[in-house]
Assembly symmetry: D2
Amino acid sequence: MQDNTTTLAELIKLVDDFVAERCWEPFHDPKNLSCSIAIEAAELMEHFQWLRSDQLDSVRDDPRTMDQIREELADITAYVLSFASTMGIDVSSALMEKMHKNASKYPADKFRGRFR
Amino acid sequence: MQDNTTTLAELIKLVDDFVAERCWEPFHDPKNLSCSIAIEAAELMEHFQWLRSDQLDSVRDDPRTMDQIREELADITAYVLSFASTMGIDVSSALMEKMHKNASKYPADKFRGRFR
Amino acid sequence: MQDNTTTLAELIKLVDDFVAERCWEPFHDPKNLSCSIAIEAAELMEHFQWLRSDQLDSVRDDPRTMDQIREELADITAYVLSFASTMGIDVSSALMEKMHKNASKYPADKFRGRFR
Amino acid sequence: MQDNTTTLAELIKLVDDFVAERCWEPFHDPKNLSCSIAIEAAELMEHFQWLRSDQLDSVRDDPRTMDQIREELADITAYVLSFASTMGIDVSSALMEKMHKNASKYPADKFRGRFR
């Protein structure tokens, strides 16, 4: 599986099958999953907790840390997709619509290089 | 765009183009993006903050809340994909490998219906 | 030290001295500390991640889990106090003023047993 | 109320009375409160989301932002104290013991100016 060829539906099936094989659906309610996304997000953030902005490039050159970061990002993604599945949300169309909304809120010519 | 036909690479391009058109790359460093994922995860969690487990089904029947939840999930996804892009992580293969690792850690026959 | 007799200033001094003895002030900038509060909050939340509302009472009867929870709460508190110290915020007066504001926003007779 | 003279017990009573006057105890279970701490922590973090390390000093000079930060810190504190109250945790002794544990883990002479 690679980002160039894998659809969201295939990734969601991967996660849903894992949950179903263990009968974990009762645990995967939307409240628990939103907590889980936040918990994994915090674990990702932990890798940058004490780094100054000018020290961040060094992380990319540390293979062991990059492996851990890759796993944390996978964990977040798994819970995001499980949440989408249990709530019947189509992630692709939700993202596309939100990016359009953001584009109206932040016109490129007015917000080039700044947020406000 | 729909989950059945949209690849991760297409969604990542959607987010990358949005960032590039506004020259926001300097803001999208991995520390800021990990904070952003956590912030949006907290906003998703807020919708369930005071609900008991037995009240969660009602959320699915409330279209206005569902719209907001869908937008929060899109925000999380946008930051996850931007993080993957800036760190050169292939989300699909990272997720597949993590699910295999989880499958070894939690064999289905030993963890059916329970975590420990 | 006990809550009945210990002032906030005494606890802040405890944390400030620990930081100063290690010359960790440069790490304790407000951004890093806000990340740290969020990270420790997630670790506290992890103890309740998969529990339904009706299973929460059991946690109080599990001394090992209670010890861990107590430590997570101490970690959060340490970072809250370090944040207050570095930003020159008086926690007691900030809390008192916020509770007054909340009392105006949620008059007791209108919000008895409900949030909205 | 000021940090120099206010005990933890006085602050906890302030929060407990607020909750009791509204009969909100059923909402203030440990899971919901741990979510609430994480949610307010994210709101605090939001004020630093896009700032580089070298831009943080400017925040202290912005009275409007400082007021908001002060309120977020008060919100976190309120939930920390409510959590401690509902779980029967003495915050002062928990913090003191954790700082002693940290002092053993990070001897000052070995960890001066660094974490590892």
